[in-house]
Amino acid sequence: MIEILSASALATVQDLGRPGALRWGVGTSGAMDPLAVAGGNLLLGNDEGAAAVEVPVFPFQVRFTADCAFAVTGADCSARLDDLPLLPWWTHEAKAGQVLQLGVPRQDGAWRASRAYLCLAGGIDVPQVLGSRSTQLRGAFGGLAGRALRQGDMLRAVAPGAGRRMTDFGLVPPALALPLEADGLPAMRVLPAAEYDRYTEASKAAFWSEPWKITAQSDRYGYRLAGTALEPVAAIEMRSHGIVPGVIQVPPGGQPIVQMCDAQPSGGYPKIGTVIEADRWRLGQAPIGSRIRFVQTSWDEAIAALEQTQRWLDEARRLVDLYRGQGARS
């Protein structure tokens, strides 16, 4: 059980998303960095898709009101349990009364990231709605009462004290295990979308070769990017159609908007490309003000990237389970 001590944190309960309700206009929501949630869960021996707290604004503080194993993954936010500094991507045991503080993510390390994830033993215990514990902010359901967490909120862990869990070990973050850069900037692979060829040659070239800055008008709904204005050969007026997170829309102003986890499941702006599913976590962690690059990829490469990510998770789980199994015997 944890008590939220921070006000105005914009933190939400998220799992790996709510698929299967697009037909009713319900987008998938879910963690902006699903690998961080999966990683934190496997450190605790949770189901991979157990719910966690996504923390986008810092500092963030919670008090444990019961003994509980936990893990903090995602951005390295100089986490402290009372006055004990914690390592990033690490699992630890909290005693009732202890306060966990997450600070502003470090920007001087090997990976610049913007969101941290707090996982609890067994996962965050909130009801499933339409098959998921993710917060659906637009529809005001899911997570904790369909809203961001507030000071004073209490969240239960599914299995806080169950079987003395092994803690005090961690994972090498996927940002280091699965690096992807272009000219020194974080890169995301993109598959061209239906309207790609309706853009000028100069626009297409700029899309791939120039850095894109993540503006302050970026959030879980979409990342508004700043860079060269992308121009179609002729004005494009579209019929409303289904879209998914990762779709890069280009409104008439020419500045692209990448649809993110809380994006509408349909839209009518032209689309130049889609960030592949395997790379959405990279974009979800890119800080406001940072610059990124898009890299053109193929269907086969994109599928291979998904498989590579799955292999990283499977291997991490295998090693963690082996280690936790050894601990149980000794």
Binding site: L87, P88, W89, R106, D108, L171, V172, A177, A316, L319
Partner: protein, 132 residues
């Protein structure tokens, strides 16, 4: 050192959980040892008579020894730094897994016995500590 200072230091030491305070200066060597709530002044020379107690943190498995977390630039411990029992002095990387290399007892780090990034086997001595 004046007697007032020593009393001041003794009182301060008694209120902490530090077991030993060692002061060296030109021509002076003073040790204050806390024994429960009592503080006693141990002649510096007396301490140097006994053999040095050391302890070694060893590798719990085959893996790569890291001096710091790969996300961070700083090392976790270096010669001369004090360490509590259980404090993390380094990391052992086994694929995606990172295990802590911890101080077996309270002491002062004497030496990192294996360089950063070297693959070690089960039982390899990694960090030497001088016990207090």
């Amino acid at each position: 050192m004046k007697i007032d200072d020593v009393q001041q230091l003794s009182a301060w030491l008694a209120a902490t959980d530090i077991d030993l305070l060692e002061l060296r200066g030109p021509g002076e060597h003073l040790c204050l040892r806390r024994d429960g709530a009592r503080v006693e002044i141990v002649p510096g020379d007396a301490l140097e008579d006994g053999p040095e107690q050391t302890a070694v943190a060893t590798a719990a498995s085959l893996g790569v020894f890291l001096h710091g977390h790969p996300l961070r630039g700083e090392t976790l411990a270096s010669p001369g730094t004090p360490a509590r029992a259980g404090q993390v002095l380094g990391l052992l990387q086994i694929g995606a897994l990172l295990l802590p290399v911890t101080a077996p007892a309270q002491g002062i780090v004497q030496a990192m016995l294996v360089a950063q990034g070297v693959t070690v086997g089960y039982g390899t001595p990694l960090v030497e500590l001088r016990l207090l």
